[in-house]
Amino acid sequence: MVLSLIDPLGSNFLKDFPGQNLINLDKIDAAAGPSLATQPLRSFVPTFIGGGGLNPYIGTDGVNIAYYYKIWDHVYAWGEVIFGAGWTVGLGTYILELPFEYDSFLNLGSGISSSPVVGQGWVQDASSSAGRLPLTVHQRETNRLMFGVRLESSAINRDLRDSGYITWAQGDGFIWNAQFKVKETP
């Protein structure tokens, strides 16, 4: 990120410095956004998508929460998805759609091989510790996350989805964090 802080008010460096300095600081504040405010941790609800065309439903008392901290053009986020009463499993790869736009220079794809790892996660199996398996968190496309399963998991798919890594039940879910660069919005 490059900010132009040269916007001379006048030719007298000493006399004009306070006004110039104020302008520069305002520009920095505007570019940094909420990260400089007193309440920088913000929340959002990711859109929970099933890549096979049928979205999962977290149920009436399910949980889908996320908090993020944006510092300049980097976002640090933590979230959880937990299935509640009346949940449905959906179909296909589990995807979370975020309210951010990744920087296009990353040239991200939609497959796990073109979606770099940007965080860690794990599967919450409410009934068995043996099912609380690790996940890799991948950024894909322009504003999405997907989740990779561990080595030798015996699942036939590489990604977290409606079936395979765990047989989902009420109280199960997945927990994630991610750190990624977003499109600059100075």
Binding site: L41, I71, W78, P134, I175
Partner: protein
């Protein structure tokens, strides 16, 4: 940006480990902006006199977790770690760093889904090491 040091407390739910000669538990962290905390912790079990303790291992954080994350229904993931078994590569492993809101400490999830304990993936011994990286928000200025 200032690098701060802290002394993590390494505990076991069934008895705390005791470091051997030359052993250490150290931590460093920085603040960014200033609510984000990035930290590192290292455990060196040391030599003669090391005792593994018992139960699930935990480590303290340098500053308190932000309340919103503290209220997550299940343990949030806040980092990554690696346990080095000095005597065997097979039981050296990476683990996910989780936060336990109930006790305000980190613990560690193995690849098989269970926690790092005084007996698994292996009983820690002299010369073993653990390195931890974590990042989380705090409201402490």
């Amino acid at each position: 940006m200032q690098t701060n040091t802290y002394s993590p407390s390494w505990t076991g739910t069934g008895g705390n480990p005791v470091l051997g000669s030359g052993g250490s538990v150290t931590g460093k962290y920085i603040r960014l902006h200033p609510g984000m905390v990035y930290g590192y912790a290292k455990i060196n079990t040391g030599g003669s006199g090391f005792s593994a303790g018992g139960g699930t291992y935990r480590l303290t954080l340098p500053v308190a977790m932000r309340a919103e994350i503290d209220s997550f229904p299940v343990n949030p993931a806040i980092g990554k770690s690696y346990f080095l078994d000095a005597s065997a590569a097979l039981t050296s492993t990476d683990m996910t760093v989780l936060y336990d809101p109930g006790v305000g400490r980190m613990f560690f999830r193995r690849q098989d889904g269970d926690s790092w304990t005084a007996t698994a993936p292996v009983v820690p011994a002299q010369g073993d090491k653990m390195v931890v990286y974590f990042a989380y928000p705090t409201s402490v200025a």
